[in-house]
């Protein structure tokens, strides 16, 4: 136990650990409250754009105002606030153009054409953005339809009936696909990058920590003193344990920093038109709770955590074995590259999982140890994996850990006291046979 304690202390009781975590805390808290930070420093991003409507039809203003405001609020999901300040105007076109030039205002002049149909002239200083252009166009078209219907002698009851949304009922024939869970894709796109990224980051921390320590002890020959007092097995497991405790501590700290960020956000009432990580989190949590996936989290979270924990152990065993074979830190850095690539493959496949729904290749890869920790939970959320498949992935990862212990320990025992790269692989294969 004291070896684990010392290993952990060597990593945690350092100025760099403190400095790195202060920096991480600042980045996370600031990231969550980035909108408030941006607005604190000022700028015109929060300013509503003036829209002047000259209604020569006498019936269009209310419809245009309501349409633009509602569409704009719907687009600003985080704040539900319109980007436009709309007012009716009776100023001349010349005066309005002056406002357009000076204040970047938008002018809509509504009139009837010769066919008594709504015709709107839109005056702006520059090209409209795609979103604004779509919003204005749709609103004008809706207004045109409303006026046409209103002037065609249709009763108000009938008109209301026409405008009422149609009833749509979704039914899916696939067993594990349920109506109301259509938001899953959105969750995959928003939640998983957030959940997976810390796992990916912690995996790198873990591999680097164990590798660098074993390599340091080996290259300084301190290993000879250590191994002459404790068995290689004890040494190996103490490193694995210390590494995993470290990532658990670091993971908990990252979680705490996020909580602090959200508390700070709540305290300062960060809620602006710009949005930010915080608003994304808030809306995502709402989305999760609104979707049926919330109930499934009861088994998704524990299974994911178990798989991730086993995978952390597998990564730490692999890092220890590889580090024991190297004779200098440069060699270990090179050996580390495939580990990073394996994690990256898992990360990208997890991101692609919802794009290539039903892909057999992705499902098969989801069982592969090391990659499965990222991919299998993604497939579980998407409904591509059931609990059984997830349990199989866990069992495979566990068997991998056992194999790494059985065969890796043989390599480790020989590797840690080997200082020559000559016939390295021959020595390691011989160690495996012994």
């Amino acid at each position: 136990m004291f070896l684990t304690k010392i290993s952990l202390q060597r990593k945690i009781k350092t100025k760099w650990f403190l400095a790195a975590n202060i920096l991480l805390a600042l980045i996370i808290v600031c990231g969550i409250n980035i909108d408030t930070i941006i607005t604190t420093f000022g700028g015109d991003f929060n300013k509503q754009r003036d829209v002047y409507i000259v209604d020569k039809t006498n019936v269009s203003f209310e419809s245009l105002k309501t349409g633009i405001n509602e569409s704009s609020k719907a687009l600003n999901t985080s704040t539900h606030k319109s980007s436009f300040k709309i007012q009716e105007s009776d100023k001349s076109e010349k005066e309005l153009k002056k406002l357009v030039d000076e204040d970047n205002a938008l002018v809509l002049i509504a009139d009837f054409n010769e066919n008594k149909e709504l015709s709107v002239k839109v005056i702006s200083k520059d090209y409209l953005s795609t979103v604004d252009s779509q919003l204005i166009t749709n609103t004008i078209n809706q207004t045109k339809t409303s006026i046409a219907l209103a002037t065609s002698g249709i009763s108000s009851e009938k008109l209301e009936q026409i405008y009422k949304s149609a009833e749509i009922e979704y039914e899916y024939t696939k067993d594990d696909v349920k109506a109301g869970e259509e938001g899953t894709e959105m969750i995959m796109q928003t939640v998983f990058p957030v959940v997976i990224l810390p796992f990916f980051m912690l995996t790198l921390f873990l591999v680097q920590m164990i590798g660098a320590e074993v390599n340091d002890e080996k290259t300084t020959r301190g290993m000879e003193i250590i191994i002459s007092n404790v068995s290689p097995k004890t040494h190996f497991f103490s490193k694995v344990l210390a590494g995993n405790l470290f990532v658990l501590i670091q993971g908990t700290l990252l979680f705490l920093f996020s909580i602090i960020g959200l508390v700070v956000r709540n305290l300062i009432g960060g809620n602006s038109i710009v949005g930010g990580v915080g608003s994304e989190v808030t809306s995502t949590i709402k989305d999760i709770l609104n979707s049926n996936i919330g109930a499934d989290l009861v088994y998704i979270i524990p299974l994911t955590l178990i798989l991730m924990l086993i995978t952390f152990i597998a990564y730490s065993l692999l890092a220890g074995i590889l580090a024991s074979m190297t004779t200098n830190i440069e060699d270990f850095q090179q050996l580390q590259t495939p580990i990073v690539i394996i994690s990256l493959v898992g990360y990208y496949l997890a991101m692609l999982a919802n794009v290539f729904g039903g892909s057999i290749f992705i499902k098969v890869v989801g069982f592969i140890p090391f990659i499965s920790a990222i991919l299998a939970p993604s497939l579980l959320v998407l409904g591509e994996f059931g609990i059984i498949e997830m349990l199989i992935a866990i069992v495979i990862a566990f068997i991998t850990v056992l194999l790494l212990i059985k065969y890796g320990l043989k390599i480790y025992k020989v590797g840690i006291l080997n200082y020559s790269s000559k016939d390295l692989w021959k020595k390691m294969f011989k160690a495996l046979k012994d």
Partner: protein
């Protein structure tokens, strides 16, 4: 008592140590000598239990060396076996804990040793910030922090100035007097001669000479005669039984094949006037080492 009994170690087909035997009793200092690659480090590793002998046994007080007895052993490796990113105090707490010592006992002993080796001010310094000589002192302190019954020193004087060699020498002798068994390897024969009662000279894994140093010197037939006076080098070289004459400041070192040749030399030298010194001496360990290793190399 440490007993190395007919120990052989193979790496594949290569024999690193071949049938090596020696004993070190309590209070004895044993010198293990040899050129690079002779098998000294492999022998130390087998004693420390880091390597399993291909055949033969290593026992400490009759028991096989395993993790139950390593708390009683101190080991100083030839290379710096210090974790250079740690401070001296952290390193001591680490290595002391490996020896089963409590933090309190480690720190008490550390203070005592740091003071004795005159490096107290480095207690909280990182090892990588220390000079080579001071790192060697710290390494030595780490090796003896547990007051070992068996102390293995692989090239302990590497990087030390004469003043510090003296400090180490005194500590080694003091430990020997307290009953510790000490095994010692060095390329510096004068250091070995200073401490060791018993030695073994290894070449290509084989012991080519072993036993008590005094016996080895006595049994070594070739002797040296120191001559000081009015006599020329050529005259000494012409004497029967003399195979080499080395001119030194104000004296000659005359090398003879056996003690019986000393009489011839004395007869010839006494013919000259003003002979101030005539002394028959044992050869140095260095001479014996060079001669023995040279002989074996030629085989």
């Amino acid at each position: 008592m440490l007993k190395v009994d007919k120990v052989t170690k193979y790496y594949g087909d290569f024999c690193a140590v071949d049938n090596l035997s020696f004993e070190v009793k309590e209070g004895e200092i044993f010198g293990l000598l040899g050129v690079n690659g002779a098998g000294k480090t492999t022998t130390f590793r087998m004693i420390m239990g880091l390597l399993e002998p291909s055949s033969g046994n290593v026992t400490l007080n009759g028991k096989k060396i395993d993790y139950d007895v390593t708390d009683e052993i101190g080991f100083l490796t030839e290379e710096r076996s210090l974790l250079t990113k740690l401070t001296v105090k952290e390193q001591a707490l680490f290595y002391g804990a490996l020896k089963g010592m409590s933090d309190e006992a480690i720190l008490k002993k550390l203070d005592e040793l740091l003071e004795r080796f005159e490096v107290s001010e480095y207690k909280d310094k990182k090892i990588k910030e220390l000079s080579k000589g001071n790192q060697q002192k710290i390494q030595f302190i780490m090796a003896i922090i547990n007051d070992p019954k068996l102390l293995i020193l692989d090239e302990p004087f590497s990087g030390l100035d004469p003043f510090n060699v003296e400090l180490f020498k005194n500590e080694i002798i003091s430990m020997s007097k307290r009953g510790s068994m000490i095994i010692f390897s060095s390329h510096r024969m004068e250091h070995v001669e200073l401490f060791c009662k018993k030695i073994a000279i290894m070449l290509r894994g084989k012991p080519v000479l072993s036993g008590y140093l005094s016996d080895i010197k006595r049994e070594y037939r070739k002797k040296n005669i120191i001559v000081k006076g009015d006599i020329k080098k050529k005259e000494l070289e012409s004497i029967k039984g003399v195979y080499e004459v080395i001119e030194k400041p104000e004296e000659f070192e005359v090398k003879i094949n056996s003690l019986s040749d000393a009489e011839n030399v004395f007869k010839e030298v006494s013919k000259h006037k003003n002979i101030l010194k005539f002394s028959v001496e044992e050869p140095s360990l260095n001479e014996i080492f060079v001669a023995k290793v040279g002989e074996e190399y030629e085989k």
